[in-house]
Symmetry: C2
């Protein structure tokens, strides 16, 4: 990747960046001219400069990702190009990882695995509550569970469905402010999943009332640092945060402070702002939770 397809008559001419490193920008600009299609990854920025370089034969831009914040959609539209993306391919995969990270963050998986890996398990005597953390499932003494979703698309809904047999009873979500409320869809979905309620709320209510917050909104400038000091301060002390969308939605420094000072119980992160440049001394890598 990227693939640059030049279609002359009926033949397809494929120009492929075949190295394992992200595609070199200069190579891309140099090879784009005459392409009828650009097939890119999240690491390739598609902007006016690249589209101009490709020229008038370009018909399609497609990205192998759910998100397309690396593509300037306005510039694509202005040129009457088709924009392709891969919305449903990873739905189940990301929903799986979201559940995994919610469980791991609650149960201190990172802390306990480090103890075992370092050979320090023998220092611990078994006792009934050793290494225990927060239970994801509802229990007899705590019979309700509220899942909060920042962004409520396909992946969020697939994640919610997986939470039902864990005893989740309520769902809160936030959406892009410009999108219309869907109360009928919400109540139908609640009934299908046998949840007591699914409600669209503001960010503050979501932070205050959720037992687990899943960040599953698109990246880009509009959602940058949605999870910041203010949001984390409002969360329940025993709640966990899971981010399986884009690292840019969460303020890493604020989250590191929240974990260190116990504002929240833990966090499960599949993405971090600035990845893969995340060294061992990154503030989040240093937090066992």
């Amino acid at each position: 990747m990227p693939l640059l397809l030049n279609r002359e008559k009926q033949d397809l001419d494929v120009i492929l960046w075949d190295k394992e490193t992200p595609c070199d920008r200069e190579w891309l600009l140099k090879n784009a001219p005459g392409a009828s299609a650009l097939i890119v990854l999240v690491t390739d920025k598609v902007d006016a400069e690249l589209l101009d370089a490709a020229g008038s034969k370009l018909r399609v831009v497609s990205t192998m990702s759910v998100g397309y914040e690396h593509i300037d959609a306005k510039e694509v539209a202005k040129r009457n190009l088709k924009l392709g993306y891969t919305p449903d391919v990873l739905t189940d995969a990301v929903a799986d990882i979201s559940i995994m990270l919610a469980l791991m963050a609650g149960r201190n998986a990172r802390e306990t695995m480090t103890i075992v890996n370092d050979g320090r398990w023998p220092e611990y005597n078994w006792s009934p509550f050793l290494f225990c953390g927060r239970q994801l499932s509802a229990s007899r003494s705590s019979t309700t569970r509220t899942a909060g979703f920042i962004g409520f698309g396909r992946i969020a809904q697939a994640t919610l469905a997986r939470l039902v047999p864990f005893g989740f009873t309520h769902c809160l979500y936030t959406s892009n402010p410009s999108s219309k409320p869907k109360p009928t869809r919400d109540s139908q979905l609640a009934s299908t999943l046998r949840l007591q309620s699914i409600k669209r709320v503001d960010l503050a209510t979501l932070a205050e009332e959720s037992d687990v917050v899943f960040v599953l909104a698109p990246g880009g400038d509009e959602t940058r640092n949605l999870v910041d000091v203010e949001f984390l301060r409002k969360m329940k002390k025993r709640a966990v945060l899971v981010n399986t969308s884009r690292g840019t939605l969460v303020d890493s420094d604020a989250l590191a402070t929240a974990l260190r000072e116990g504002w929240i119980w833990g966090a499960g992160l599949d993405v971090v702002a600035g990845e893969p440049k995340i060294a061992a001394d990154h503030p989040l890598v240093k937090e066992p939770k």
Copy 2:
């Protein structure tokens, strides 16, 4: 723990081992005489010697655990004592951990977390299949999933319920050979959970046909090393093994070989035979999978 209760008239006299280390055997034998109840943990062996030491006032032995392989039940019955245990307290907790470990084993969680912890993430460039592993959920290209349970009690059934929205379609299980088959219960449960089938099978069939094998049977001599070289050799290459019951059911050396040589995809272990004496050079700690 243990608590030794001496009931004289209406008062309760409580003798408590209040250290964090497992209860000292000599202390237990010395303090047992005259107790009307023994409340113990899995680390306390309850045998003829201890019961004799307690003497004729003893009425009840109770353990704070689901399993009671550390208690000689025959000796307890012979003396007409009541035996207490805590069967349902941890059902949801263990089911949660079982799902977590199935997800982690499939997705190489241990390997990737080690890379991040060691500060080696910057060495990896993002690519679409980087760090990918086996997806727990069914997918369009692979539409069925079979869960196998060694032991099919409350925890196994709670785990199975959680797997349904992950697209699991079939369930196989093995039971204690002396227990009666329950085909009606099985078909009712399959219908409630909307599974295509739930079937009791022999150990070889379970190994051969399961995508995930959950070990959830009691410990003790009868189930020792049920998961051995022969079992692991029969498993699918892309299957994972999860043990959240007792370490004694799995032959650790055989499992380490299976992981190293790729007989199976990975393993998620909440328990290991001999724990907590598991050092960094234990064969299983050395296996990234």
